[in-house]
Structures are given as C-alpha cells and as structure tokens.
Amino acid sequence: MKFTILATFLSIIFFFGCSQDPSSVGKNLISNTDKLETKSLTIISQKSSSYPITSSNNSGTLMIGRSNDVTAEMLLQFGYFPVDTAIANSIISVKIKMFPNYSFKDTTGTLSFSIHRMSVTWNEYTFTADSLTAYDINPIDVPSIAINSRDSLIEFPLNNSIVSNWLKGGTNNGIILVPKQSSNIILGVTSYTNSTFDDRRPQVIITYQLPSDTVKTMTLKTVQDATIFSGVRPTSSDSLFYIQGGLIERGKISFYVDSIPRSAAITQAFLELKIDTLSSIFSSFTSKGIRVHDILSSDSIPRLGALSSAAIPDGNKYLIDVRSLVQQWVTGKPNYGMALRSDNEFEQVEQFAVYGFTAQAENKPKLIIKYTFRP
C-alpha cells in the first residue's frame, strides 16, 4: 500500500516535471533601468594620415617593371645546380620561364630590363630595399618584352655563361632583374608552390647536348625569390591620403569614442570611407579591397593587432565592419586609432586615394555606430 502511494506520488512529480521553454512572461516585471536602449551615433574622424612601410616581400606574387613612379626589381635564385662540367660545356641555350598572374596598371605594355648577377648572399624572408647593397653592375642580358599579362606564359633568354659557371661550381647568389626607364608596366608572376603537381615558380630551362648524345633539357626552379620596390610615394594631405600596395603606404585614422558609455554593447559599427576615384589607380586584377586593423602602439609606424576586417567598395564608398575594434575601445583598451591598408598590399600595387578628415563633410571618414546600453 505504502509502496503504491509513493509510486503514485512520484508519478505526479514526473508529470509536473515537464517544463516549457522560457517565454516573455515576466517581462512586465523588468524595471526601466534594466531594459536595454538602443542609440545610433555617427562620429567624424578627428585625424587621418598615411605612413610608409618598407617590408620584405616574399608573397605569392613576384613583380618586375615600372609604372606610376614605382619600380619593382625581382630577385631570383635557381637551384640547386649539380656540379657537372660536361653539361656546363655543352649548353646550347638557357631561358627563363614565368607564369603571369598580375600586371599594373594595364594588361599590356613593354617590359625592358637588365639582368645582373647578385654579388652578395641574401635571404628572401628578410630582404628589403635597404638590403640591396650590391650587384654586378655589368648586365648579363638586357631583354625587352612586349607583355600581355593575360598570356599564360612568358619566356626570355639568359646568357649561357652564367649558368655554365653555376654548373661548374661557381658562386650562385642568383640574379636580379632591374627594369629600365622605358618600361611602362609592372608584371606579376607566380612564386607560390601549391604542390609538386602545380609548381608555378619561375624556372630556368637549360638545353644542352653532350657529345654523341641527343639534345636534352634540365629544368631548375627558384629556391628563393623576392621583389624590391622603390620609387616616389604619393603625397598625402589632411583632405586626401593614400593607401598603396607594393611600395607600401598605409593609412591611419583616429576617432574619439568617449561619448559612448563604457558598458555599452556595440551592436553595429561601420567605418565609412570614400575614395577619390580620379586620384586612385587600379589594375583590372584588383578587387579594390581595403583592410582595417587595430593599432597597438602610438609609434609613428604602429604595430598592428590581429583584429582586422575588410570590404570592397560600393561605388566610391566603403563600409567596413569595425564592431570588434570599437567595442574594445569602449571597454577601455587604448585607442590608438585604426590602420588602413590595401587588402593585397604584397601582391598588388594599387593606389587608393582616400578622403581625409578635412575633406568635404560628406566625404570625411565616419564611424556609424549602433549600440545598446542600460540607462
């Protein structure tokens, strides 16, 4: 009997134990001080500028050429050469083969350059324009090529003697391709190795014939490469500043967000930028993307944080999602502003002319913010 009572009793608990999902019942009890309010806010930039970057460039695109006051020199080191005097003495011809993936500004142009022997060792991961101290002033070759970057392949000859020397065990510091004034295009070629089946690095192809043998070829690929940019940087002003790839220029914008309460939750925050399309220069390869980073220091060349966001333009207007950055500022992280860079600054030489903080009101950089807070 008692067992039955207990079992019945527990069954009742099971029955009532089923809860429903929480709902809005009880909402009437929430006091106004605990309800969330939403506010929209537009903050105009207080300061904008640009700053130069001289960095190593071992990106997936190697470049050679001249355009828009920017010069790109290409370093190549092929290897590894076996020491084989017989082949060294039997070379018929040597050519360099490259696979285009980019050009600036146009897709066609003339690329004239001289090829020099590098006289010092170098490292692709640390090499910059400042590192370029010495190469043999006497060119090995001076090719001039009509370029169409939509072609799948570009070839040009290389003097046999330098390759012959490498095959005899001579010092191999690679070569440098220096564009001439007559060049009017910057060509980009693939340096990246996707896999052994899709290896599109620059190649040197050696054609030789040993005595009493057939004609043969030996192909060696780059073991390291780099691009060195030099030239004239665009001049920024308070009303227009430049972001550029290749010869890298980055932008820096500051906003004061002190009017937002510390406990506010940044629901949305967009950085609105407008570019001067007449002063901007783009190739047909670009998506015109601009990337925003948080800045970690007040240095003139600031350290950038891991937070970043990018956008492509709608007309001449960019709306870049910067919620994370603004939220961090609001919660007390030091606000050194945000850095702007070309989304492909190592692979492309695009130039963005961005309106600055003294531009006309409708063109000034702005933060458009929606936030919620407890009143």
Binding site: K2, F3, L6, A7, F9, L10, I12, I13, F14, F16, G17, C18, S19, Q20, D21, P22, S23, S24, V25, G26, K27, N28, L29, I30, S31, D34, L36, T38, R262, S263, A265, I266, T267, Q268, D321, R323, S324, Q327, Q328, T331, G332, K333, K370, T372, R374
Partner: protein, 414 residues
Amino acid sequence: MNTKTRYFLLLIFSLLFIGLFNSLDAGTGGSGFSRYGLGDLQYNRSTAAIGMGGTGISIVNPTHINRLTPAGWTNISHTRYTIDAMYQGFSISDNSDKTFLSSIVFNGFDLAIPVSTYNGVVVGTGLLPFSRVNYNIVSQELLGDKYYSLSYVGEGGLSVAHIGSSVILFNDFHVGAKLNYTFGIINHNIKQSFTTEGYSSFEVTRTTRMNGLSGTIGLIYTGINKLNAGFLYSTSSNLKTEAERWYNYMDKGGVITRDSTQTVADKIRIPGAFGFGVSYIHDNRYQFAADYSFRNWEKTNISGLILQDIKNSRRICFGVEILPVRTQKATDWQKIGYRAGFYYDQTYYSINGEAINETGFTLGSDFSIFGETRLSIGLEYALRGTKNLQRDNIYKVSIGLEGAELWFMRPEED
C-alpha cells in the same frame, strides 16, 4: 528484494531521474518576482511543517526537528536528521502569455543531538535555504528590422548554516537559541543575442556574494494545559557584500572582448524578524497551530541588489495535524500523520507600486519506511501576484527523509 530496499531504491532513482530530467530541460526556472531583492524568501520549514501551512513557532515535537524555532527541539530524545528536497513548478501568466517552469532544489538539512533529555538540552545544526533567485525570461525584440533575443536569467540565493541548543527551564519554558551564518551568491544575467550576420551580441552578469552573522532565540510555554504559546525573534544581519559585473561581447565567431567592473564591497542589512504562535492538542490526536511573523524590511538597506520598492513582510499561517497515536509505542499505521494548512503571505515585493501577496494551501503526510526512518511528503499550492503584472500558480512538492539513531545516549537498563 525486500520492501525497504524497494522503497529506498525507488526514492533514490526517482529523485535522480527528476533532477536529470530538469537539468537537461532548457525551461528550468521560476518566477520573475525572484529577480528582486534577495529573491523568494524561504521560511524555515521542514517537509512535515509544510503540511501544516508552515506553522511551528509554538510546536515542541519529539519526531520532527523544528526548523522555525530551536525552542521546539527540547523533546527530541534520539539523534535525528532530516534532509529535504523540493520540486517547484511555476505556472506563470501575464496579460499576454503564459508558461510553466520548474526546478528541483535542495531544501535543507538538519541534525539534532540530544545531550540531556531530562533538561531538554539538544544541540542542533543544519543548513537551510533563506532565499532563492530563479527566473528565466526570454523575449524577442526588434532593432530596426532585425529581431534579437533578450533574456533575463537569475540564479542563486542565500543559505543559512546554524548551530544552536535548547533547554527546558522551570518545567514549562522551552528555550532555544541558535547562531546563524548567512551566505550565498546571487547571479543576474542579461543577454542580448543576435542571430543575424553583422550584429554583435552581449551579456552582462552581475554577481553578488554575501555573508554575515545573526542570531535566533525562541521561547515556547507549555504550562497552559494542552495549549502552547511561542515567541520567536531573529536579530538583523549585516551581510558583507561584494558585487562584480562581467561583460562579454560576442560575435558569431566567439567572444570579441570581455570587461568587468571592480568589485564593490558594501553591506546590506537583513532586518530582524519576530513571530508569535499558538498550538493546541485535542484528544491527543489533533494538533492545531497558528503563527504570525513579521519582518521589518522597510527600515533596512539592501542597496546593491535589484530593487523595486520593498515593504514589510507579514505571514499568517494555520495548520492541523491528525496523528492517530501520539506516543512512541504505536504501529507504523498509527504513526502516519495527516496534515493540512493554509497561509497568507504579504511578501516584501512591491513592484510598480503593487503589493505582491501570496496565498497558499498545503497538505502533508509522513510514514515509516523502515525502522525510525520516515518519509515526509508535503504538497503546496499557492497563488501569487496580480493580473496586471504577473500571476504565479505555484506547485511545490517536498520530500523529506527523517532518521533517528541513538547516539551518545546511555541505553536504558533492563
């Protein structure tokens, strides 16, 4: 398998199953009223006392440990322990919607050790709930043309650990006192969640830790034939509090950043309370009891907690118990108690100027499951709130396991 084992296993597995079932259910929670102040106040009642409407200020009981007043321990002749669990279901409605939320909670533990049965000296200790915060409110809100979920969730509460003693003075004065250590953590969380790409979500959790001491004294006079009169007083308690706020700002990919505000050390004061009670035993079978208790909340300080207006709390309760044989030497069937009760509670909540009152009806029973071990069952139905704000239909089912052993007592000589 013998009967005792069946009962015991059934009880254990049932409680485990209910607990598991509830913990997996997203809908656990309680009433939104508990968002305010210290939450829903829990009057110190064992499962047996719940059956009698929560009365007990004037009851001296040899078989149940009186949680209201230590003066009620004097007749305990065996070492006794009680452990209680409570299922509470809230059928909540307002003028637009309704829902049902439930949870299972620990409802107290007591241990009473008789030191001198002749003088009624019993040492008691235990851990009892003082208040409970448990609510879960979720609504869909609109920001521009995007919906987001806004939830208010609270949990925690205060508990009281006590140690005390009782004694009989001048034959009819049963006196008891206990020292209470009140402690606990209350968490309130507000969360705004967007599922739309491009919008950030956030949550803020406010955590308040509290602890402090207080005292309780009780007096029961049993010299008027079968009528008992009791008085109870609890001192105010100054609780040291530390409050922190934690902010999480989230995107779909995870937490963007965190923030916290500094710990604020403060004090809140739980006011003193007093109560009166009378009880009467008729025909040695029927016990009637009535209590009145009062706590002076209006003259106190609980700043730092979520506040609406608060008001003084008053509680009136009545109960009756039918126990066929009120002696130790009776069969198990004769020892089964049947209880019923009623209470009216003017709670300390006053929200938007509306007083929140609660009216409840209770039933209860207890029976031996093996030896001196008894199972108490208490059922409670209460109605709380107003139509304008929120109406709670509250269902509570309490289960208490009570045991008795002869500890430290010299067995009677043959």
